[in-house]
């Protein structure tokens, strides 16, 4: 892949570099996510939505109309289980892939709490924010925990008669509560990645962000990548 000369102006240099490298400057942009990261993220996203959309009509008849997307509620019942397995597998790959970059620094612990609201009001001092801010790191771990909770309770719901009554009841509630928390956090994940913070979505598609974006949102990362300027 890197055998194509980087100086070939007919091809998008950043995309080519982004195939296997990240945290490097290309022109006025910085590669934020290499290809592997983007593929893993979208695998998780697609399987998440596959599970969500096939599960919602079973969850409440208010979303019964979504069952038609898949050909009926019986299909949803079958599909939801397998989409969930695929989602769990993708989430596991995601965990392994990003684990080393998501360690919560001691000064970032305050993100578990009111700091999340301060951030939403755009009032935090971001000068010490590295590649991922405290909120992103927390979202990473809550997502992995959520995926685990959904998997465990999901297996019980898939084969209910093999488990005792109490375990089945608890599984229904755990699956529900976990999914609702997940859905709420995904709404904000998508909102922040698109409307609220322009320039972010491209980081997960093309893989790049502008230098100015990096200076604004992740100043410490910007300094590490550009060597100060």
């Amino acid at each position: 892949m890197s055998s194509v000369p980087i100086r070939d102006r007919a091809m998008d240099e950043a995309v080519i570099v982004g195939r296997d490298r990240e945290n490097v400057v290309v022109g006025n942009e910085i590669i934020r996510h290499r290809l592997a990261s983007r593929l893993i993220h979208w695998s998780v996203a697609v399987t998440f939505f596959g599970s969500l959309l096939s599960g919602l009509p079973m969850w409440t008849p208010v979303f019964g109309w979504m069952a038609t997307l898949f050909g009926g509620l019986q299909v949803c019942r079958w599909l939801h289980a397998w989409a969930g397995i695929a989602f769990s597998a993708a989430a596991l790959v995601m965990l392994v892939h990003w684990f080393s970059e998501m360690e919560l620094r001691p000064d970032e612990r305050s993100w578990i709490g009111p700091k999340l609201f301060t951030y939403m009001r755009y009032q935090t001092d971001d000068s010490e924010v590295g590649k991922y801010n405290g909120g992103q790191k927390i979202f990473f771990f809550t997502s992995v925990l959520g995926a685990l909770g959904l998997l465990v309770s999901g297996v019980v719901l898939w084969f209910p008669l093999r488990f005792p009554h109490l375990v089945r009841e608890l599984a229904i509630i755990l699956h529900d509560v976990t999914f609702v928390l997940f859905a709420v956090s995904i709404v904000f994940h998508i909102y922040l990645a698109t409307a609220a913070e322009p320039g972010t979505f491209g980081a997960m598609t093309r893989g790049t962000v502008t230098k100015a974006w990096a200076r604004l949102h992740h100043p410490k990362w910007y300094k590490e990548v550009t060597g100060g300027k």
Binding site: M58, H165, E169, R215, P219
Partner: protein, 298 residues
């Protein structure tokens, strides 16, 4: 297909109004099946009648050392005589109870079911399954305190005693009632069956069974099937009949608390995102994309 001649009073997962196909127009007396375990001889005519009437396929039987045909009800065996040998006051009692769907007034299966209209309750109290809507998820089995719902191995659909709704709707008694040779099974309105049961319980009490009782548990709002038990203080002796059956708390909590709150939370999150955008706008690069002004002020 639901039997069109019978008004539906409740159907599963049918929205906040919980009415589904109900029109609320007709008023029918609640029907009831009366079982007197004290006169049952375990002949199994009722088992055969049920299989015959419903065209159910044969199920391989198991010999566990007693007369019981199967260990539990089956998706193709909706009516099972339970045999229990019990030592009471130094003597042996051979207890036999006809086990089938109890057609609860507050059916836990219907409450737990997430498929709209898959489980319905008719105005006469009969609880029935619509296999076209059934998705085979098994929630009904979690909702039922009597462990009745069973599922087909390949189609996944649930099936159980229908209280012969197809016979009842044209004025016939259920097949099991018709077949019983000892007269321990009766069919009629709930009031009439309660009266029969009360009378029989009084007879038993006067004949040396002081703890005789009519099993009609209030935890599920009463059942369409009322059972006379000679040892009424030990329902568990009669094929694991639960002492205090009720719709499981987990199922109720899920349906009535977790689910609505969850829906509000998710819709609230979307509304919240819009509200946030209207109120706070974007967090974005100011001015020229590469200007120095975007460095945070120390």
């Amino acid at each position: 297909m639901s039997v069109q001649t019978l008004e539906i009073s409740r159907s599963s997962a049918s929205g906040i109004l919980s009415s589904g196909n109900a029109t609320g127009m007709r008023s029918l007396p609640t029907v009831s099946k009366y079982i007197d375990t004290s006169t049952c001889i375990g002949c199994k005519a009722c088992e055969v009648a049920c299989q015959e009437w419903n065209d159910l396929k044969s199920v391989a039987t198991h010999n566990d050392g007693d007369y019981q045909t199967l260990k539990t009800l089956d998706v193709q065996f909706w009516n099972l005589i339970r045999f229990d040998e019990r030592e009471v006051d130094g003597g042996l009692k051979w207890l036999m109870r006809k086990d089938q769907c109890m057609h609860c007034a507050e059916p836990g299966c219907l409450e737990a079911c997430p498929a709209p209209g898959a489980i319905v309750q008719y105005a006469n109290g009969i609880v029935d399954v619509n296999p076209e809507q059934c998705i085979g998820c098994g929630y009904c089995a979690t909702g039922c305190p009597f462990d009745v719902p069973k599922f087909h191995a390949s189609t996944g659909k649930m099936a159980k005693c229908t209280l012969c709704v197809d016979r009842v709707s044209v004025g016939l008694e259920p097949a099991c009632i018709k077949a019983c040779p000892t007269g321990c099974l009766h069919f009629g309105t709930k009031d009439d069956m309660i009266a029969l049961g009360t009378h029989r319980v009084e007879q038993l009490k006067a004949s040396g069974f002081p703890t005789a009782a009519l099993y009609d548990p209030k935890g599920v709002g009463g059942t369409g099937v009322v059972t006379v038990l000679a040892f009424g203080d030990h329902p568990e002796w009669y094929g694991e009949l639960p002492r205090d059956p009720h719709v499981p708390l987990g199922v109720r909590f899920w349906k009535n608390v977790v689910r609505p709150l969850g829906l509000i939370a998710i819709v609230g999150a979307v509304v919240g995102a819009f509200g946030h955008y209207f109120n706070f706008g974007k967090k974005e690069v100011q001015g020229a994309a590469d200007s120095e002004s975007n460095l945070p002020q120390a």
